[in-house]
Symmetry: C2
Subunit: 624 residues, 2 copies
């Protein structure tokens, strides 16, 4: 247990105890009114939250997202009622509003979302808060801010590997401004946690990963205050306070019992519990909020990038063009930060790492944490670009899902898309990444085919407020567009067209080059095909697709280096499903094998020969 | 360093050193011939692999997948050449075959896949091998086998949180038959690893998680043999051998250098390196393979389940029906194993846990590891059913992707699908799970609407060899089918039909009930709609959909509690894209809010009122 040498004025302790009691009362009231929710998970954390908000934190209630303001991340998002109650104590929410918890017109949702000004990211998918906290901490450090980041974790969620990804990177980065508090109430949803109340096991684990550890009784206010103050002063490494707590603490008849996870109290029991809690109030006035020194620094406003360098206009791999474009963007926009998962030499994020080391975060082989850190950086007003192999971004699918719910301003780049990567085999091929990102609401999905388009996509990503996914190709490809070509979110390019086109082929990225080669072969036979570059898969330009189809016999042929489900062909089929336009689709329909890119493109039916064959067959069927 | 007290015959040491030298030679030859691959990653592990295969392991080369046979999992899958070379030493592959590495007609792919009889699961997405190994170990224990599971990890991949998920569960389960070997060569792909050669940091971490740890020089054969033998004898906890190695060890001019990850040697350099290695051979005969005692036990053959109990035929939540059906299947099929991520009381997997505790694995809040363990159990001939909230299965998207590549016989159940879960909010709603599972090749995707259909889906999942996803609903729903109704993979049900139907509504799960309610309202107005239950979203019954559409004016209306991308509507639009049939789609198109199920179904346009409105609009437009 942390030593208690620091003597604290009794009045302050009692004031904090009163805050904690009110947090419990409000959590019970709100969940009973909502007839659902997690009062017992709120109760175990109430003392920790009270001390964090009213003794440990330095924050600005009027600008909770200021980079100079300490941040609080409720990683155990199901304890939302205690978070809302704390902000009511702060004065950011009216106390009566707490009773609208979980109602359809209230922003006090079942689990926190950034619809609330003091919530940086949505939580509720466990094990993600610490990585987000690390991103917030690195962002504060980057801005020269003294602010700390406080993350409250549940004990059960420390079973998530993503927590240990954040733990090790925080230690590696010596993130002394990151403080974790673990609410060890020993009870999960369906039974006891793995470690129950073995606080020493938690101590050993965090210590082994290089953290400063304190273990305390999480309901002993002087101990909590002392530990949090010490953590705040800690230097050279991140700190964790492991707090032994009781689930449902302070709620009579429920305290420490199994079977009460996620269950509100019935009205009568709630009234009894609230009465008992009220009788414990010392009626000492609430401690004042401690505001930070310094002012909010607005993120640097971007300037415009100059004209595209020759390096982007020749034959280049779009993954390499991505690296160059990111450097170009970083030169004019100080908000740009790059994140990598130990493949920066393959994604070419390396170029940015070399040019702007201070704005680069090597996340090592831990994609989940890379995405959470990016979400935290975005919540500090930065513009993070996280890149890996397209297939390895699936490792962070849940973090990407939560970034979507958080409306995080994070950009993703997935390289090595599809079978065209060649010999490395299926485990290295991104063949479901388009399906993953298309299913994120409001996300923009881009798939450039050459250096110029890639540069434009990176620029567009920087301008769009929200999640953007850019898919790049491993191999070098020929230039398609002149240096000054303009691209837009929601656009497409008709790359080749004649009045006597008999079919439209819709492709993107690597398959655009296959489609163009196929069009040449067909043209030699007197058969002309319109070629569309669907560089923006979401949102998709429905009108232009309809126009192209109608102009070429009412049919389209899509070709993609992706599985048949949820990718380019699906985007087109979904967009045109109510038009009666016929959409023929070429896609990868089985688990691919190792081989050369050319062999694989043809073996899986998405290469130039397959396209020619398919066009011939479609035209042979004649108009419908 | 592990003590060396055990004295080993020099001849055996030299024989093992010769094996290691040949593994290096073969790895260089194969990668140089392939002009790609990872010889330096193979070289750092060669001594460890030689000692594991020819001193530590007890296995049956003729039945490598026998439950009595030790298993070897190459978690660092990019070192595939050393794995293939080892099996060539064993005699399972002809040495000349090694030169076909990475060719399109060779099963020796860039990263290992189960196309090879001695590979249990595909590896190459790092950080998954230890969880698979734990599954193999638990499966062996379940069969009463003495077999051990040996997992070779790279140091870089220990940054993946999934490794620590496996580490903690293995300790919690006291999996003494699981032995991890970490090849600490200190170099990742794009730079040094986080811990470089700090072996003590690895020791502290594994020890803190309750493992037996030995640290050794990974190129000192006597030390390796001693450590592996001690690990084999270890009882009460899993063991890890942390081995300090040099990347490219034994390959002159490359040894220990950065910038050589994933690069083959040029032919001339390869010849020089091979000559130097050959000069080190002691020319001592290879040690014999040590075979296990006992015979291969075939998994129990399933009997047939009896008739469905009344509990399944009334109003029931399909998630609850899943739990009951799983118990029913488990009663007749001893291969059935259930896995949970601390939500078994919500998914109702709890029912199986209560009935068959010995065949139940509580994975706690660590979904990635739950899926890897399931893949390992399947590789022991078991029939694992892993369940969680649908949204939390996205946490394991990459493990599911690899299970697909591994053609693992794993079944998944995702509960709490869609906005119909209600007040908990978006972080708890599975709205992209159908897109995720549909993008897994050969996977079957099922979405039952009542208890009878759920029971049938669980039966079908057990009969199908491969990945099956079953989506369940949180709320109770009315019965739709009689107790004896038959269902098939690839089927659908026309639930309501008349000759004068004017439109077909395609729904599944919760939306089938909304569609039926809407049909009643429409019928009251004299408008009749055909209702299709698309309980199998993959493979989809294209013929029956076309038939229904043609019979009802050539149009369909799909309704789903899922985002508009990649789900039910997409499955139908994709399947019918080349038919000209018009597919109108109702789906969730924004990030939902908290609220009551009924409020949310209507607010997001997939409830009965929205369906009625949509049908009226479509019919008002008249036939196209």
């Amino acid at each position: 247990m942390a030593d208690r040498s620091v003597t604290l004025p009794q009045a302050r302790i009692e004031a904090l105890e009163d805050v904690a009691t009110r947090l419990r009362i409000d959590s019970i009231r709100a969940t009973t009114a909502a007839k659902s929710g997690h009062p017992t998970s709120a109760a175990s954390a109430a003392d920790l939250v009270a001390a964090t908000f009213f003794d440990a934190m330095r924050f600005d209630p009027d600008h909770p997202r200021a980079v100079t303001s300490d941040r609080f991340v409720l990683s155990k998002g199901h304890a939302a009622p205690v978070l809302y109650a704390a902000w009511a104590e702060v004065g950011a929410i009216k106390r009566e509003e707490l009773l609208t918890l979980r109602q359809i017109d209230s922003d006090l949702e079942g689990h926190p979302t950034p619809r609330l000004p003091f919530v940086d990211v949505g939580t509720g998918s466990l094990g993600q808060g610490l990585g987000v906290g690390l991103g917030l901490a690195l962002g504060a450090r980057l801005a020269g801010s003294e602010a700390r980041v406080w993350v409250l974790l549940g004990d059960g969620e420390t079973a998530e590997g993503s927590v240990w990804e954040a733990v090790q990177l925080a230690a590696h980065r010596a993130a002394e401004n990151l403080i974790a508090v673990v609410d060890v109430n020993a009870l999960g949803q369906s039974g006891p946690t793995m470690l129950r109340h073995d606080l020493d096991a938690y101590r050993r684990r965090f210590a082994a990963f290089g953290w400063r550890v304190q273990t305390i009784d999480g309901h002993d206010m002087p101990a909590i205050v002392t530990a949090l103050r010490r953590a705040r002063r800690s230097r050279g490494a991140p700190s964790v306070v492991i707090a032994r707590t009781v689930k449902g603490k302070g709620i009579e008849g429920v305290e420490g019992l199994e079977g009460w996870h996620g269950k509100p109290l019935p009205p009568d029991a709630a009234e009894r519990a609230i009465a008992a809690l009220e009788s414990r109030l010392h009626h000492v006035p609430r401690p004042p909020i401690q505001r930070p020194r310094g002012r909010h620094q607005a993120p640097a406003a971007p300037a415009t990038t100059g004209s595209r360098p020759d390096a982007l206009t020749g034959a280049v791999a779009t993954r390499e063009a991505y690296g160059q474009a990111l450097v170009r963007l970083g030169a004019v926009d100080a908000r740009v930060v790059a994140l990598d998962g130990d493949v920066k030499n393959s994604t070419y994020a390396e170029r940015f790492f070399e040019a702007y080391p201070a704005r680069s975060v090597e996340g090592f082989i831990a994609e989940q944490n890379m995405v959470s850190v990016a979400a935290g950086l975005a919540a500090q007003g930065l513009l993070p670009f996280a890149s890996s192999f397209a297939c390895f971004l699936t490792r962070a699918a849940d973090q990407i899902r939560m970034a979507g719910i958080s409306r995080s301003n994070v950009k993703f780049c997935g390289s090595h898309a599809g079978v065209s990567i060649g010999e490395d085999g299926p485990s290295q091929m991104g063949l479901e990444d388009l399906a993953l990102f298309r299913a994120v609401p409001d996300a923009v999905v881009l798939y450039p085919a050459d250096g110029v388009a890639t540069d434009a996509c990176v620029q567009l990503a920087g301008e769009y407020r929200g999640i953007v996914y850019i898919r790049t190709t491993r191999m070098k490809t020929d230039p398609v567009y002149p240096a000054d070509e303009a691209f837009t979110i929601g656009g497409l390019k008709v790359v080749r067209a004649r009045d006597d086109d008999r079919l439209t082929v819709v492709a993107a990225g690597i398959t655009l080059h296959e489609a163009l080669a196929a069009a040449d072969e067909l043209a030699a036979k007197g058969i002309f095909a319109r070629i569309v570059d669907l560089y923006c898969l979401k949102p998709v330009d429905r009108t232009a697709l309809v126009e192209a189809a109608r102009a070429t016999g009412g049919a389209l042929l899509t070709v993609e280096d992706h599985y048949a489900e949820g990718g380019l062909g699906a985007a087109v089929a979904e967009a045109l499903s109510d038009t009666g336009i016929v959409v023929h689709r070429l896609a990868v329909r089985e688990i691919p094998h190792s081989g050369s890119p050319r062999q694989l493109l043809e073996r899986y039916g998405i290469g130039r020969a397959a396209i020619v064959r398919s066009v011939d067959e479609i035209l042979a069927q004649g108009p419908r």
